[in-house]
Amino acid sequence: MNRIEEVFQKRKTGLLMTFTVAGDPDYDTSLSIMRALLQGGADIIELGLPFSDPAADGPVIQQADQRAIESGMNTDVFFRLVSEFRKESDIPLVVLTYTNLILQREIAKFYQDAANAGIDAVVVADLPYEEAGEYIGAAEQAGISPVMMVSTTTSPERLSRILSVKSGFIYLVAALGVTGVRREVNPEALRYLEMIKQATSTPVAPGFGISDREQVQEWFRAGADAVIVGSALVRLIGENLDSRQEMNRKITACVRELKE
C-alpha cells in the first residue's frame, strides 16, 4: 500500500490536498513553500510539474507555470526537488502534469523516476481514459497510483469505464472551465459527487474553483474524501513575490484556516 492509499484508508476527517506549482517562483522558495504547507497542516501535497501550454489551467496557474519554467524548472529538476523534500516528510505527494512531459521522458521511465523520487500518485490533465492505457500500466508497474479525472459532463457510461481503473482517488472537476477561484460551489457538481460515491468505494477529491473554508466544508459535508485547493494558494505566491517570509507565513495561515 502506498502513502496515498494509506492516508485515505486511515482518514477520520476530510483531507486537505494543496496544489502549488513546483519551482514557483524558484527552486528554493518552492521547497520552503512545501514546508509552509506542511506546517499549516496539509494532508496531501499536490505539485504541478509545469508545462508551457497548460490548456486546462486558468491565468493564475498559467503564470505560476511560466514563473517556474523561467526559473529553470524542468522534469529533471522537478524530480530532484521532490527527492529533496521527501527526505523531510512522509506526506503523500501527488504530481499533476500534461501528457507531453511524460511522453518525452518515455512513459515507463517517467513513472519509475517519479516513484524513485517519492511520488505516490500522478494526475495528467489532458489524458482521458481512452488514451491512458499505457500510462496506467506504467504507473502500476512503478507502484504509483494513477488518478483518473471525472467531470460533470462525463456520461454515466464513461463514468463506469473510468471507475473500472484502480485509481488512487478520483479527481472530480468541480467546475466547468479551467482552474481558478469561483465564488460558489456548483450544485450540479455536488450532485455528481453523490453519484460517484454511490458507484465506487474509491476516494473522491473535488478540485477546480474551491478556494475558501466554507466551500471546503460544503464539499466535506457532501461526502468528499479530500478537497483540492490550488489557485487560492498559487495566488498568494504571486502576490507576495517581494517577501518570501511573508509569502510562507500567509500560506501556512491560509492552509490552517482551510483546515479549521
Binding site: A55, A56, L101, L103, Y129, T153, G177
Partner: protein, 391 residues
C-alpha cells in the same frame, strides 16, 4: 469514440475529461448530420452562391514559360473572404447550427480563419468570439478590422508566445467553460479527434475540383502538387483527392523562417512527435517536452505543431515535406504578383517559392499545380516593410 481516433500512430484525443463530452457530441454530428442530404444540399448552396465555388484552376502562361513546365494555380484566393479558410468555417458553422449551438469561438493567426468564422457566424446568425495573439493583432490589423466590422468580438491573447499557439490554448479554455452552447470552430487540421477528420473532409473540396479540372484541361493527372503547411488544412484539402495516385508527387512546404538552424516554423522538417492541443503529432519542443516558439514572416504558418495526418504522410513518405525561408517566400510574393498579376498570401507564397525551386528539374510537359490558398491583401504592410528595409 466510435471511430478510430488515430491517423497512423498520430492524432488521438488528448484533452481534459470535461471536453470529451463535446468531442463525442461532435463525432456524432460528424457521422450523422454531416453526410445527410439536407445538410449537404444547404452547404453546397452556401459554397456556390455565397462563397464562390468552384474556384478556377488557372494555367499560368508566363510562369510556365519561365519555369519550363506547365504551371497551374488552384485559385482559393478568389473565394469570398480571400482564402480557403471559408470552406471549413462555413461547413463547421452550419454543423454547429444543426447541433443547436448558439455561439462560435475560433483561434486565428493571420486573421483569415477569424474573418472566415466571422463571416460564417454573421450569415448563419451565430455569435462569434475570436481569440488572437496580441502580436498577431498588431501584424494583421486589416483582418482585425474586418472581423470587428463583421460583428465578431476579437479577444486579445497576451499569454505565452502571444501568437496562434496561445490563441488555441485560450480557445480551449473558453470552450471547456462553455462547452454546452459553444462550438469551437478550429481553423485547421489539428486539435483532438474528430477535428482533423472534419476539417480535412470540409477542405477536400479543393482537391476534388482540382482533379476534375486538370482532367478537363490536360486529360491526365498532374505530376506535382505543391501546398504550404502551417497546421496543414489547405495542403490536406488539395492532397486528399490524389493520395491514391502514386504518380502524383505531393509537396508540403513549411515555414523555414530564418533558416532551419535558426528561428522557424517548420515542424515536420525540424521537430519530433509529441502531444499538444489535443493530438499527437510533430512539434517544435525542447528535450523535456516544453513547446518552443515558432517563427515565420507569415502569421498563418507561425505554429509549432502540425496536423496528425501530415505526420502520418511524412513517416510513410507519401508526401515530401520541405521548408522555404522568409526571404524566399517574400521574393515569391513579388514574383507571382509581377509575373501573373496575382498577389498571393505570404502563406501561399511559400508554395510558390518551392515550386520555383523544383520546376527546373521537371520536363517541359510536366504538370505542376500550386495551391494558391489565399490572397495577399492582408500582407501588403509586411511586404512593404521588407521592401523598405531592402532598398
Amino acid at each position: 469514440m466510435r471511430l478510430n481516433t488515430r491517423m497512423g500512430e498520430y492524432g488521438g484525443c488528448f484533452v481534459s475529461e470535461t471536453l470529451m463530452y463535446a468531442l463525442e457530441e461532435l463525432e456524432s454530428a460528424y457521422l450523422n448530420i454531416l453526410p445527410g442530404t439536407e445538410f449537404q444540399a444547404e452547404l453546397a448552396e452556401y459554397m456556390t452562391k455565397f462563397a464562390g465555388r468552384e474556384t478556377p484552376l488557372t494555367f499560368c502562361r508566363n510562369m510556365s514559360r519561365e519555369l519550363g513546365c506547365r504551371v497551374y494555380l488552384k485559385r482559393e484566393d478568389l473565394l469570398h473572404s480571400g482564402a480557403h479558410k471559408i470552406n471549413n468555417a462555413l461547413g463547421q458553422a452550419l454543423l454547429a447550427k444543426y447541433m443547436g449551438k448558439k455561439r462560435l469561438i475560433a483561434e486565428t493567426g493571420a486573421g483569415q480563419h477569424g474573418v472566415a468564422t466571422a463571416i460564417a457566424g454573421a450569415v448563419l446568425g451565430l455569435k462569434v468570439d475570436v481569440f488572437m495573439g496580441d502580436i498577431d493583432i498588431e501584424r494583421q490589423a486589416l483582418n482585425v478590422s474586418r472581423m470587428k466590422m463583421l460583428g465578431a468580438r476579437v479577444i486579445p491573447v497576451s499569454s505565452g508566445t502571444r501568437t496562434l499557439k496561445d490563441a488555441i490554448n485560450e480557445a480551449l479554455r473558453d470552450w471547456v467553460a462553455q462547452v454546452r452552447d459553444t462550438h469551437y470552430l478550429i481553423g485547421t487540421v489539428v486539435g483532438p479527434h474528430p477535428f482533423p477528420l472534419l476539417v480535412r473532409d470540409l477542405q477536400s473540396v479543393i482537391g476534388k475540383e482540382a482533379r476534375r479540372q486538370i482532367f478537363e484541361a490536360e486529360g491526365r493527372l498532374p505530376d506535382c502538387i505543391v501546398a504550404c503547411i502551417g497546421g496543414g488544412s489547405n495542403a490536406i484539402g488539395i492532397f486528399h483527392a490524389f493520395i491514391g495516385d502514386p504518380s502524383v508527387r505531393l509537396f508540403g512546404v513549411e515555414a523555414g523562417g530564418e533558416g532551419l538552424d535558426a528561428k522557424h516554423g517548420a515542424t515536420l522538417c525540424g521537430g519530433r512527435p509529441g502531444v499538444l492541443h489535443g493530438n499527437y503529432s510533430y512539434l517544435l519542443q525542447d528535450a523535456f517536452g516544453q513547446i518552443l516558439e515558432s517563427h515565420s514572416v507569415s502569421a498563418g504558418l507561425d505554429y509549432p505543431g502540425v496536423g496528425p495526418e501530415h505526420a502520418m504522410h511524412k513517416d510513410s513518405g507519401r508526401v515530401t515535406y520541405q521548408a522555404v525561408t522568409d526571404t524566399e517566400a517574400l521574393e515569391a510574393f513579388l514574383y507571382l504578383s509581377r509575373t501573373e498579376g496575382i498577389i498571393p498570401a505570404l502563406e501561399s507564397s511559400h508554395a510558390v517559392a518551392y515550386a520555383r525551386k523544383i520546376a527546373p528539374a521537371l520536363k517541359k510537359d510536366s504538370i505542376l499545380i500550386i495551391n494558391l490558398s489565399g490572397r495577399g491583401d492582408k500582407d501588403v504592410e509586411t511586404v512593404n516593410r521588407y521592401l523598405e528595409m531592402g532598398s
